[in-house]
C-alpha cells in the first residue's frame, strides 16, 4: 500500500506543478486578453471594464485558485472563439478523440501482441526476419505520412473509406466506424511496430531464463511454456511501453485529426492556439496532463495485478 500512496501523492504533486506551469505561462505571455477581445480600437475604460468582468483585476493567487477549482468543477470560463463555455466545447470534441484513441489502442493490442509472440517463436525463419524489418520501417515512418498514404490508397484509389470528415455515431453507426478506420490505422501502425519489437526482445530475453528451463524439464509443452511462463514475464516491461503509447496516442491524434479533418481534441488544440483562445488552451493542456497522470496510475495498478512481487515490497 505504501507504494500506491506514494504514487498518488507524487501524482498530486505533479498535477500541482503542471497546473502552476500552465497558469503562469499564460500570465507571462505578451498580450492582454481583454485587449485582444476588444480589438486595438478599444479605449482604456472599456478594457478596464472587461477585465473586471473577466475577473482579470483580481490578484494572481486568487485567480489561480479559482482556475484550479474550475478544472475539477468543470467551470473553466468561456471560450473566446466559440463564445460558449469551454466545457461545452470540450464535450463536443472529447467523444471523437476518445473513439479514435480507443480504436487505435485496441488495434495495437490485438495485432501487436500475437505478432510479437509469433516473431519471437519463429525467430530463425526468414519471414520473422522480414516482419522484423517491417517493424523497423513502422517505427521510422511518421504517422501523418502513413495517413496520407492510406487516404490515397483506400480513400482516393479504392474508395473504400471516406477520405476525410466524420459522421457522428448517432447519425449512422456504420458510417462512423468507417470514418474511424483509416485514422486509427495511421496512429496504430507505429505503435504496433514499437510493441512488436519490444515484446519480441523481452520474450527472447526470457527464453534463456532458468525458470523456463525448469518448466521444460517438467515436460511442459513448448506452446504452454510460452503462454503460461514466458509471455506473462515478458509482459511486465511491455506494460510500461503500452502506458507511454496511450499517452502518445493523444499527441498522435493532434496530427492525425488534422490530416483526416476529424473534429476532435487534437484539431481543437491547434485551432485554439492559432486563435489565442487562452481559456480553451489552458483547459485542453490541463486535461491532457491529467489524462497522462491517470494513465500512469492505471499502469501502476496493472503492474500489481501481473507481478505479485510488488505487493509485498509495499
Amino acid at each position: 500500500m505504501k507504494r500506491l500512496t506514494y504514487k498518488l501523492l507524487s501524482s498530486i504533486l505533479t498535477l500541482f506543478i503542471v497546473t502552476l506551469l500552465i497558469f503562469f505561462m499564460f500570465q507571462v505571455l505578451p498580450g492582454n486578453p481583454a485587449q485582444i477581445i476588444l480589438g486595438i480600437d478599444a479605449d482604456e475604460a472599456q478594457i478596464k471594464q472587461l477585465e473586471q468582468k473577466l475577473g482579470l483585476d483580481e490578484p494572481l493567487t486568487t485567480r489561480y485558485m479559482q482556475w484550479v477549482q474550475g478544472i475539477f468543477t468543470g467551470d473553466l470560463g468561456e471560450s473566446l472563439k466559440y463564445q460558449m463555455p469551454v466545457i461545452d466545447v470540450l464535450k463536443q470534441r472529447v467523444p471523437v478523440t476518445l473513439a479514435l484513441a480507443l480504436s487505435s489502442l485496441v488495434l495495437t493490442a490485438l495485432l501487436a501482441i500475437p505478432l510479437g509472440i509469433f516473431i519471437a517463436m519463429k525467430q530463425d525463419k526468414w519471414y520473422a526476419f522480414v516482419l522484423n524489418l517491417f517493424t523497423q520501417l513502422g517505427i521510422a515512418i511518421p504517422s501523418f505520412w502513413f495517413g496520407f498514404l492510406l487516404i490515397y490508397l483506400f480513400g482516393v484509389k479504392l474508395g473504400w473509406f471516406p477520405t476525410f470528415g466524420y459522421t457522428a455515431w448517432s447519425e449512422n453507426p456504420m458510417q462512423a466506424i468507417r470514418s474511424f478506420i483509416l485514422p486509427s490505422v495511421a496512429i496504430a501502425v507505429s505503435n504496433i511496430a514499437v510493441v512488436v519489437r519490444y515484446l519480441r526482445n523481452t520474450i527472447l530475453d526470457q527464453t534463456t531464463m532458468d525458470y523456463v528451463r525448469t518448466a521444460k524439464s517438467k515436460g511442459v509443452k513448448d506452446h504452454q511454456v510460452m503462454s503460461r511462463h514466458i509471455v506473462r514475464n515478458a509482459f511486465i516491461p511491455v506494460l510500461t511501453i503500452m502506458g507511454m503509447i496511450v499517452a502518445d496516442t493523444i499527441a498522435g491524434s493532434i496530427i492525425i485529426e488534422n490530416v483526416f479533418a476529424l473534429p476532435g481534441l487534437g484539431s481543437l488544440l491547434i485551432q485554439s492556439i492559432t486563435s489565442r483562445d487562452f481559456p480553451l488552451i489552458q483547459a485542453l493542456v490541463s486535461y491532457i496532463a491529467i489524462f497522462v497522470i491517470v494513465i500512469n496510475i492505471v499502469i501502476d495498478l496493472l503492474y500489481r495485478i501481473i507481478d505479485p512481487r510488488i505487493k509485498k515490497k509495499g
Binding site: D210, K218, G219, V220, K221, R232, I306, P308, K312
Partner: protein, 336 residues
C-alpha cells in the same frame, strides 16, 4: 547383469561457435543402475552440467549431440522421442539456482502441480493433496500456506526444497540434480543433503548428483564419475575412488580438499587451468597440468581401463599393471 536404468554410450556434444564447431563432450559413456546414486564431479567447464542437459535433451540452441546413444529403461532416446512424456515423468531435473529456477509470477502450488497436470489425470484437488504430501516429505511445513505463496516469499532453502519436491512429485525413475546445494549456505546445504538421502532411500529411485564438491559427493553417492575437459577420466565406487584414486587429476582434486588435519598448511591446488574448447587436442587433456606426465601422454589419448568397476583413463595405469592397452580397452568396452 540386470538392465541399467539409464545408459549413455559414447556421446559427443558439440558447440557451434562463430569460429567453428567444438566438441564439449567427448565420448561420454556411463550407466546408472536402479536405486543408485551416482555423482558427477569436476571443475567448472568440465561438462558436468552439459552432461545433465544432454540426458534431458535440454541443450541450448548452440549445442548439439553429434554422436552416441542414450537409453532409458532399454528405450533408445533420440530426436524422435516424445521428450515431453519423459521429462518430469520418467526423468526429472533439479537445477542449481533456487532463486531463479522458479517462475516469479506463479504460485508455488501452480508450479508444483504443473507436471502432474501434464502427465496424470488427477483432479485439481488430488493434485493439491499430492503436492502437500511431497512438500511435507522434503521437510516443508505450513504447506497449505506455501502452496498459495509466490517464490519471492520463500527463503533460498525453502525454494530449493520446493524445487526438489517439484522433481519428485511424479515419482520419476531418475532424478538429475545439477549442483542442488551450491547456492545455499552450509547449514542449509547439510539439511538439503539429508533430505536427498532419506527421500532417495525411501523412493528407491536413482539419482545423478552433479557437484564440484567432493565432500558432498562422498557423503551421499554410491558411485562417482570424475570429468575433465569434456571427458570421463575416472569412475568407480565412491570408496575405491576416494581411497585409491588412479588418475593424477583425481589425486589432485582429493589433495585439494581442505581438512582439519591440513590446518595451518597452505592449501594444495592443481596448477594451471582446463584447456579452452578451442585448444583440445588428441592426447591426454590433463597433460599440461600433470606432474606425472610421460611422452606418450601428449600424442596418445589414454583409453579408459581398469577392473572391478573402477576405471580411469591414464597411461600410468598401463605402466603399473603391465596390461596391454588395446586388450584392456576391448575388455572395457565389452563391460559397457
Amino acid at each position: 547383469m540386470t538392465q541399467p536404468l539409464f545408459e549413455m554410450i559414447d556421446v559427443d556434444v558439440a558447440f557451434h561457435l562463430k569460429d567453428g564447431t567444438y566438441k564439449a563432450l567427448d565420448g561420454i559413456s556411463f550407466e546408472i543402475q536402479q536405486n543408485e546414486i551416482v555423482g558427477i564431479v569436476g571443475e567448472s567447464g568440465c561438462g558436468k552440467s552439459l552432461t545433465s542437459l544432454t540426458m534431458m535433451n535440454l541443450l541450448h540452441r548452440s549445442s548439439e549431440r553429434t554422436a552416441g546413444k542414450m537409453r532409458l529403461n532399454g528405450k533408445v532416446l533420440n530426436e524422435q522421442t516424445d521428450w515431453h512424456q519423459i521429462r518430469g515423468n520418467e526423468m526429472a531435473m533439479i537445477f542449481q539456482e533456487p532463486m531463479t529456477a522458479l517462475n516469479p509470477l506463479m504460485t508455488i502450488g501452480k508450479q508444483m502441480t504443473e507436471s502432474l497436470k501434464q502427465h496424470t489425470n488427477l483432479s485439481k484437488n488430488e493434485r493439491k493433496e499430492k503436492a502437500y504430501e511431497v512438500m511435507r516429505e522434503v521437510g516443508l511445513s505450513r504447506v497449505e500456506t506455501l502452496y498459495r505463496s509466490y517464490p519471492h516469499e520463500l527463503s533460498g532453502g525453502m525454494r530449493q526444497r520446493v524445487v526438489i519436491a517439484m522433481a519428485l512429485i511424479n515419482e520419476p525413475d531418475l532424478i538429475i540434480a545439477d549442483e542442488p546445494t551450491t547456492a545455499l549456505d552450509v547449514t542449509i546445504q547439510a539439511q538439503i543433503l539429508h533430505v536427498f538421502k532419506s527421500v532417495m532411500k525411501k523412493r528407491q529411485s536413482s539419482l545423478v548428483f552433479i557437484s564440484h564438491d567432493l565432500g558432498v559427493i562422498k557423503e551421499i553417492c554410491d558411485r562417482v564419475i570424475v570429468m575433465y575437459a569434456g571427458r570421463i577420466i575416472e569412475t568407480g565406487a565412491v570408496e575405491d575412488v576416494f581411497s585409491h584414486p588412479k588418475h593424477p587429476y583425481t589425486k589432485g582434486l582429493l589433495r585439494a580438499i581442505p581438512t582439519y588435519s591440513k590446518r595451518g598448511y597452505p592449501l594444495y591446488t592443481i596448477p594451471g587451468t582446463v584447456p579452452p574448447l578451442q585448444e583440445r587436442k588428441n592426447g591426454c587433456l590433463f597433460v599440461d597440468r600433470c606432474a606425472e606426465r610421460m611422452p606418450q601422454c601428449i600424442v596418445d589419448r589414454p583409453f579408459i581401463t581398469g577392473e572391478l568397476g573402477h576405471y580411469a583413463s591414464c597411461h600410468l595405469i598401463y605402466e603399473e599393471d603391465g596390461v596391454d592397452a588395446d586388450d584392456s580397452a576391448r575388455k572395457c568396452l565389452q563391460n559397457i
